[in-house]
């Protein structure tokens, strides 16, 4: 009962903050609300017995990625006209997008309520996970069953580092030529 109440409160916060992300005029407010959305999602992960995911949700998403976003917003230093200038109010596109969004919510809701999700049950019940430890189990699986994707992820991150530097550096190289 207490768990259900907690879930309802947290999901309400999540939905309201997600709506604020979309409907705030200033991107920096959108970013702050997105951080709140991610932190409340971390609480939901703890309710689902995924403590490791909750921890990296706060550290990687709410920490690293959102700091990057806020950094870029401040770096660009958008003018007031750029922030509030949704000049051409595309009324048709906006209203139809919102209506289609409602239809999408209803469709996903109906599917997730009506469908009986059945699958092969795994071996990791919450009790057995709490005996081994969630983080230890994730680490063990990353280095045994999922070792190949884990290595590919490292290459992906390496490519992303180089790509980000190459894309953001351009101006400096041109300055040196001039």
């Amino acid at each position: 009962m207490l768990e259900a109440l907690l879930f309802l409160i947290i999901s309400l916060i999540t939905i309201v903050c997600a709506l604020c992300v979309v409907f705030q005029k200033n991107p920096i407010y959108s970013a702050i609300f997105l951080i709140q959305t991610m932190v409340s999602l971390a609480v939901l992960y703890i309710l689902l017995h995924a403590q490791f995911i909750a921890a990296i949700q706060v550290m990687v998403y709410a920490g690293a990625i959102m700091v990057l976003f806020i950094f870029v917003i401040m770096l660009l230093n958008l003018s007031k006209a750029d922030i509030e200038g949704e000049r051409d109010n595309l009324l048709f596109q906006k209203s139809s997008a919102i209506i289609l969004g409602f239809i999408l919510v209803v469709m996903i809701g109906v599917v997730s309520v009506k469908t009986v999700f059945q699958g092969v049950k795994g071996e990791y019940t919450p009790e057995s996970i709490s005996q081994i430890g969630n983080t230890q189990l994730v680490g063990k699986l990353l280095f045994t069953k999922f070792v190949f994707p884990f290595e590919i992820a490292s290459i992906l991150l390496f490519a992303a580092i180089i790509g980000a530097i190459v894309l953001a550096k351009k101006k400096i190289i041109e300055d040196e030529k001039a």
Binding site: A18, V22, I65, V138
Partner: protein
């Protein structure tokens, strides 16, 4: 215990909010944040199914999705900076060089 369909409905709502945000906003950074919101919604569905099926695979997948999201954020924001440098705007309606 909370029925798992509640989590799936919440995930669906978050995904739809993200999708609507991508469609109605014109600021490239906000569009990018809405994409992150959609990725988060998918993560929630993954963890929910992982809990329901007593399996750890869903949580490992969330780990990889976060890796991809971090890489995507770094490259995407670098692209936005490069575009801003060339066109002095982040309004996606003005960025139409590749429009045929």
């Amino acid at each position: 215990m909370i029925p798992l369909s509640w989590y799936l409905i919440l995930s669906g709502i978050l995904f739809s909010i993200g999708a609507v945000g991508v469609l109605i906003r014109r600021n490239a950074i906000v569009i990018f944040m809405c994409i992150e919101l959609m990725l988060n919604a998918v993560n929630l569905a993954f963890v929910t199914f992982s809990r329901q099926l007593d399996s750890m695979d869903g949580q490992i997948f969330v780990f990889f999705i976060m890796t991809v999201a971090a890489a995507e954020a770094a490259v995407g924001l670098a692209i936005i900076i490069a575009v801003y440098r060339n066109k002095a705007t982040v309004n996606v309606d003005d960025i139409n060089l590749m429009k045929w």
